[in-house]
């Protein structure tokens, strides 16, 4: 098993050779399979071989994406209708595959990108279907006073948009109550929601005509041309899937998509970067649901009949399994998964049973009806799900993060870089990385952060007791104390994770206590975490780009239409992020996944991510923890440069006294939630209360 598992795990679809060779392979294969399909119009194998063209195009990695897309469009938009257009079955299957591809891509936004388990996705599909069915069959006239009769097929086109809108609204409406839920719990609530929608569709006779369903749903019409042949739906669906793929791709590689992934990877860290959870989650639900809404309208028209049995929990599960089978979060994977599951369901197993039957008829044996494989599609399907989940949990085409080609000359790999060159490189990188924040007139005199009598209780325990602290601009201010002194609790109150029970916190003269973490981030405070909280499945560069989130202005429309503003902003952000990575010494690792970086580099990446927000106050929570002396020395150098080179104010929690003493302007000492000492390093070092706190009474 493990051998098979390993080879399954490793397999990647990639054609050999350069661009020309790959293009030639693709074209030759296309011609071959197209002729095959033409010659054997009944052959399921020829059809599957033809569909493999898409996989081949995907594997031709040497080709530019635009060429790949063009080739795929030619294959499905031109060649396929030419060679198989006369066969309604293949056209119908291709349409169904396309519908499921669109559904899977929509659900992938919710589940794959945003990490929100949704098991009731079919509810939105149902909504879109019923929307068109109710208005095009005259059912609406029975319960809406202002509607008379049935709408004609011409209304199909605006209803695509209505389906989109209603789907999005429903998605957002479902999103609101479940915002607080995670993982399995979310999965179950959405499952319940999906079932409720189906049961209501079956029960609310006056609106949906209940279990009897709505026959006679209108087919689309253009002017006076009546559509409705399989090939018409094929083209409509194909165009929409093209649009949806484009949209999904643009979303994924944008500020919005990064926010989704960041939220999926680590919610607290995402909030600390200024990502608004509520808006981001609702947007994910709405986007995913809108895809389903549109497809529902098409489905209703294509079937001509809508009833609740089309929208069972099994449908939702089917779409989920497409995503998992294909590879969560991976666009090509999800598309492939949708194709494989759909084909398996409606074609391969049926085909197998046909084939066995005809074989039986020819050779005079008969398969007992109870053993007919077509009856056991669920068994085979279950087996496939199980085997895939266990042996290749990443899916057929595991998600790969986008590799960004940087305009800069490639820097030497971090590990090989001689340390002597670091300083000049850093100065240069810094110069590009950030316009040095204009230092205030007299930074040292300016109280940037004021903590006034702040108190925090957990149950009966007082974690922070009326602490006073002033952090001045341009200082490195350290917060030290024994374990459990309340340092991180204080950090969490400054950054909005906890709300103080008493006292207040002022930043630049304005109160910030009680604000949400994302609002604190917007005010100009950025942080790192004690136990590194990177977005592990995103690249180093993407991590830093998430850090820039609050400075990016492009909205959904900018992203969808790739407006000039968005492109400019994005390329600036990538440049800036790359510079920051160089600045912290991670040049050359931009496209590495965060989880693959060594420990010390992860710490630096976290700092780079925090810097990307261009904070005026940087909070570092034990940045040297777990570092070896060499890494610690480099960190010291970095912090020093942040202060003197970039003029940044830093609030630091640290246990390593060498670090603290050598770098701090001011040190505040906490013990059991109370401030016991404050002052310059030398002052604090000799404070008996501090020595007592650290070494115990006997040492004094």
């Amino acid at each position: 098993m493990s051998g098979l598992g390993r080879s399954l795990e490793r397999y990647r679809l990639r054609l050999p050779g350069g661009a020309a060779a790959q293009a030639a392979t693709v074209v030759v294969y296309l011609l071959l399979t197209a002729s095959l399909l033409r010659l054997f119009p009944q052959s399921i194998i020829a059809f599957l071989l033809f569909l493999a063209n898409l996989a081949l195009v995907f594997g031709a990695r040497a080709l530019r994406p635009a060429w790949q897309a063009g080739l795929a469009a030619v294959e499905m938009g031109l060649v396929f209708p030419l060679v198989a257009g006369a066969n309604p079955f293949f056209v119908g299957v291709a349409t169904t595959v396309a519908i499921y591809v669109a559904l899977a891509l929509g659900l992938n936004i919710v589940v794959g990108l945003a990490g929100l388990l949704d098991l009731g996705y079919v509810a939105f599909y149902a909504t879109g279907s019923y929307l068109w069915a109710i208005f095009s069959t005259g059912q609406a006239a029975r319960f809406l006073p202002f509607v008379h009769g049935a709408l004609g097929g011409g209304w199909f086109w605006p209803f695509l948009l209505f389906g989109l809108a209603v789907g999005a609204l429903m998605g957002a409406a479902l999103g609101v109550p479940v915002l607080r839920l995670h993982g399995d719990y979310l999965a179950i609530v959405t499952l319940g929601f999906g079932e409720i929608i189906r049961l209501l569709a079956a029960g609310l006779n006056g609106i949906t005509n209940g279990s009897i369903g709505l026959p006679g749903v209108q087919a689309p019409q253009i002017l006076s041309v009546q559509l409705g042949q399989p090939i018409d739906y094929y083209f409509i669906t194909l165009v929409l899937v093209g649009v949806i793929i484009l949209v999904a791709q643009r979303l994924e590689s944008s500020r919005v998509g990064r926010a989704w992934m960041a939220m999926r990877e680590d919610e607290p860290a995402a909030r600390a970067m200024g990502i608004r959870l509520v808006a981001t989650k609702l947007l994910a639900f709405a986007c995913g649901a809108s895809f389903a809404g549109v497809m529902g309208v098409i489905f209703a028209a294509k079937q001509g009949y809508v009833d609740p049995t089309s929208f069972t929990f099994m449908e939702s599960i089917g779409v989920v399994s497409m995503i998992v089978l294909g590879g969560m979060g991976s666009l090509p994977g999800v598309a492939l998964g949708a194709a494989v599951v759909t084909l398996l369901n409606i074609q391969v197993l049926g085909g197998l049973s046909d084939w066995l039957n005809s074989l039986g008829a020819r050779f005079g044996f008969s398969i007992p009806p109870e053993l007919n494989p077509a009856q056991y599609h669920q068994l085979i399907f279950g087996l496939i799900l199980l085997v895939m989940a266990v042996l290749r949990p990443g899916g057929l085409v595991p998600a790969r993060r986008r590799h960004v080609q940087l305009a800069l000359a490639p820097a030497a790999p971090a590990a090989a870089r001689p340390r002597a060159t670091e300083r000049p490189a850093r100065a240069e990188a810094r110069a590009k990385a950030a316009p040095a924040p204009a230092p205030a007139a007299d930074p040292a005199a300016d109280p940037l952060l004021l903590v006034q009598g702040v108190t925090k209780r957990f149950g009966g325990l007082v974690a922070i007791d009326a602490v006073e602290m002033t952090v001045r601009g341009g200082h490195v201010h350290s917060l030290i104390g024994p374990n459990g002194a309340g340092k991180t609790t204080l950090f969490n109150m400054i950054t909005g994770t906890y709300r103080p029970d008493g006292g207040r916190i002022l930043f630049e003269g304005r109160p910030i206590s009680g604000l949400q973490p994302e609002d604190v981030a917007l005010r100009g405070i950025s942080r790192t975490f004690q136990n590194i909280r990177l977005f592990r499945e995103m690249t180093a560069l993407e991590n830093v780009l998430v850090g820039r989130h609050i400075h990016l202005r492009s909205n959904l429309a900018d992203v969808l239409f790739r407006s000039p503003r968005m492109r400019r902003e994005e390329s600036e952000a990538v440049d800036r992020a790359a510079e920051l990575l160089r600045y912290v010494g991670l040049a050359g690792l931009e496209n590495e996944l965060a989880r693959n970086l060594p420990y010390g580099s992860q710490r630096r990446l976290e700092i780079a991510r925090a810097l990307a927000a261009e904070p005026r106050l940087l909070l570092l929570d034990e940045p040297a923890a777990g570092m070896n002396p060499r890494e610690t020395a480099a960190l010291l150098e970095l912090i020093e440069d942040l202060r003197s080179g970039m003029g940044l104010t830093i609030l630091l929690i640290e246990h390593d006294m060498k670090v603290v003493m050598s770098i701090s302007d001011v040190i505040t000492v906490l013990d059991h939630g109370a401030k016991i000492s404050e002052g310059a390093p030398d002052q604090v070092r000799h404070d008996p209360r501090v020595i007592e706190a650290y070494l115990g009474r006997s040492a004094v």
Binding site: V111, L117, P177, V178, R180, L181, H182, G183, D184, Y185, A187, I188, V189, L191, G192, F193, E195, I196, L199, L200, A202, G203, D266, E267, P268, F313, I317, V320, S321, V324, M328, E370, L371, Q375, Y376, Q378, L379, F381, G382, L383, I384, L385, L386, V387, M388, A389, V390, P393
Partner: protein, 314 residues
């Protein structure tokens, strides 16, 4: 007295019986969730397998000439169902869940759904070969019915001996389980693993063995519930596990997932609410009531009635 009020006592009584069955299944969900933080989607189908094993045992024992006493029949069916499903549950854990301990939740969920499909069609295949059909009527075990006349009610309250047996058996099993988890060494180890797997391992607890044991016990309870259910509702199909499984899961959630008494309370509550709700707003929306309870409890009271708050972001 209005007619809805007239029917209320009978509805509550029937709800209680269903509720006890839900409770037994819910225990399996809740135990597995406790140790693995996993919704064992295949549990409803483990229940279904239990129902089939019970039915087959009853068929075999009633087929011969001299019928056994109903008590022996029931005991044989329940024990056989529990034994088979206990092993089945442990096997499922070994094959479908253990390799995926570190994987994201969704992968586990899909693996569980895979198992669920597999079980449904496997049972169907086996029964199709064995009997040529897969929707099986269940032989009657206890035919006795009690009718209790209550002053003020037009109709006597009806309760079957079988229902009483189901309730009593459920209570016995719950008491046994509670003692097992609370008093015995393996039971305590189970709680330790549920609390903190890593620490439990450091203290020398064989975590894998305990997880396997959890599946063994939880699935066995589910299987026993299947056999009891079969005697109560007289028909078994390979596809019966899904709806009941979801409802039992709802029961586990209502009571507070991870909490055994909570599962029990949730099951009974759900059973009664469903019956009474169906009685008042129409059986058409009986399942809507169940799912609405599920959604509302999760949204408003995610820790359930007796559960502890689930740690976020941990």
């Amino acid at each position: 007295m209005s007619s809805t009020l007239q029917t209320l006592p009978q509805l509550v009584l029937d709800g209680l019986v269903v509720g006890f069955v839900y409770a037994l299944i819910a225990v399996g969900y809740t135990m597995v969730y406790g140790v693995l933080k996993l919704i064992n989607f295949a549990h409803g189908d483990v229940f279904m397998v239990g129902a089939f094993v019970g039915t087959e045992v009853l068929r075999a024992l009633t087929a011969g000439g001299r019928p056994l006493s109903p008590w022996a029949l029931l005991l044989a069916a329940v024990v056989a169902a529990a034994a088979v499903t206990a092993l089945l549950g442990a096997g499922i854990e070994r094959v479908a869940y253990r390799p995926l301990r570190q994987a994201p939740t969704l992968i586990l969920l899909v693996s569980a759904i895979g198992v669920s499909f597999l079980l449904e069609d496997l049972v169907r295949l086996v029964e199709s070969i064995h009997l040529g059909k897969f929707v099986l009527p269940v032989p009657t075990v206890f035919a006795t019915v009690y009718r209790i006349h209550v002053a003020g009610l037009q109709n006597p309250l009806t309760i079957r001996l079988n229902s009483i047996v189901v309730v009593v058996a459920s209570i016995l099993m719950m008491v046994g389980l509670t003692l097992f988890v609370g008093r015995t060494r393996p039971g305590k180890a189970m709680r330790a693993v549920a609390e903190d797997r890593t620490t439990a391992a450091l203290q020398g607890i064989d975590v894998n063995a305990i997880i396997a044991l959890t599946f063994l016990v939880g699935s066995g309870m589910g299987g026993a519930a299947g056999a009891l259910f079969a005697t109560q509702y007289t028909l078994v199909t390979p596809y019966m596990g899904f709806d009941i499984g979801i409802k039992a899961f709802t029961a586990a959630v209502v009571g507070g997932i991870g909490n055994i008494p909570g599962a029990f309370l949730g099951g009974i509550l759900l059973g009664v609410l469903e019956q009474v709700g169906g009685g008042f707003i129409g059986t058409k929306f009986q399942n809507v009531v169940a799912f609405a309870i599920l959604v509302l409890v999760l949204v408003l009271l995610p820790s359930g009635l007796l559960g502890e708050r689930v740690q976020e972001g941990a």
